[in-house]
Symmetry: C2
Subunit: 237 residues, 2 copies
DNA sequence: TGTATTTTATTTGTCGACAAGAAAATCGCC
DNA sequence: GGCGATTTTCTTGTCGACAAATAAAATACA
């Protein structure tokens, strides 16, 4: 046995030099997007260092990266915190994601390739499977992958990167939404996604645009309804 | 005298705790955007630490932030380098900046306020002064501030942030462009900017859009011409 | 002489420690 | 008892050092 180290700690695997930051970044990122770490909650560097079994340095670098992605807020000489969701300015988010749905769909319909279409369909298969299994977290992640694949098919890395950022913001809102329904998932989106794939595969730019807008409207309407309901019950977060 | 420290080093001012990262970040950022640090050049952490009179830790954090902004590329266990300019895929950049010129102009025309208009006009005054003084670096920075102010007037922070990123990429290309003309600056853009201000102030959305597109086309045409010329002479960078 | 291999040197990634700053707790005073 | 000043505790920002990984140089060999 090689793991005869500290009696208390769960033996953490030897990691390759340089991989620490990546692990922490991805772990925290997922936890933030899944709302495992609630918006506004403080982030203690020492606590994370102990949890991941490394010093504060790589933790710190991961936090800086997350701050650059807008997932973490930092104040000088104060604890960092999980980025809050600005419920008062959600309409800006809705504007942006609607535009990007339309734009990425349009570009994908123009520039699609067989390989890109295959990736889109693969993501959609994951998505459908997650919905069938009523697995909200997997579904939300697959939804992001689906739209990310469409953006990739469009070919413009500037748009793709921006869209990913907006989609991640949306992941937190979607999680909030499905939490409020005990994570029961509707089938209807699977059909909408299939329609988008068909339009892109056919190279129908205008139809892809129209479906992108409809998809965005659908999501915006739901989240708005959720917020209105929450506001009646108790203040959000 | 309090500065009786190292005989060699230019005495570096005492800095407040936490300000180190900001100083390094802003300094390097400006040097990268002004092409003082040429694309692709390696970045030595120790060298920077000596230059800024601090340890490697804050240097490193600044580099991570710059990498998040796409201004620095990092390879594992290898020196970081100033982000290269991908000349083969410039059309994606041109697409993105054209869209954002139009979009920010439109939104500014819709949502303008007196305060925002004042900021736009102030940036334009700086721009005109720099052109009159034939100061290329100041002009390029002021051009960025001008369009950033328009984006701010539009009110959507998602668009503003994305636009800033694209504009920064453009700053490097503009610098390249004016370097090739020995930094002699044309007057024509001052007029174009004035026209954009007028359209926004009048709330004329379609005209703002049209001017944004024309402005983008102008810049795209120039940079394309520069690249075609460079390609004839010698390979770019 | 050219190529493969070992050795050296340079540069990064990580660590533990210390000090500055802020929040919390304690104390003194009215 | 309430409020302000002081002390304490806690967390971050910075540092110097060490080890791993890579690049460069030197060496061995065909």
């Amino acid at each position: 046995m090689t793991d005869g180290e500290d009696a208390a700690g769960p033996d953490l695997p030897e990691r390759r030099r340089g991989s620490g930051v990546r692990v922490v970044h991805e772990s925290l990122r997922d936890e933030i997007l899944d709302l495992t770490l609630p918006p506004g909650s403080p982030i203690d560097e020492v606590e994370l260092a102990e949890r991941f079994g490394m010093s504060r340095t790589p933790i710190r670098e991961a936090l800086i990266r997350l701050a650059g992605e807008g997932l973490v807020e930092t104040l000088p000489n104060r604890s960092a915190m999980v980025a809050r969701i600005d419920f008062l300015n959600l309409h800006h988010f809705f504007d942006a994601i609607t535009l990007m749905y339309r734009l990425t769909n349009r570009l994908a319909a123009m520039n699609r390739s067989d390989a890109a279409l295959a990736r889109i369909r693969a993501a959609q298969a994951d998505y459908a499977a997650a919905v069938a299994a009523q697995d909200a977290l997997t579904m939300i992640a697959a939804n992001r992958s689906f739209h990310a694949a469409i953006a990739e098919a469009g070919g413009n890395p500037y748009y793709t990167q921006f869209f990913l950022r907006v989609l991640d913001e949306g992941r937190r809102l979607l999680r909030l939404y499905y939490q409020s329904f005990d994570d029961r998932l509707p089938q209807e989106y699977v059909g909408e996604h299939d329609a988008i794939i068909a339009a892109i595969a056919a190279g129908d730019v205008e139809e892809s645009d129209r479906l992108g807008r409809a998809h965005a409207d659908q999501i915006v309407r739901q989240i708005r309804a959720l917020l209105a309901r929450e506001r009646r019950d108790d203040p959000p977060l």
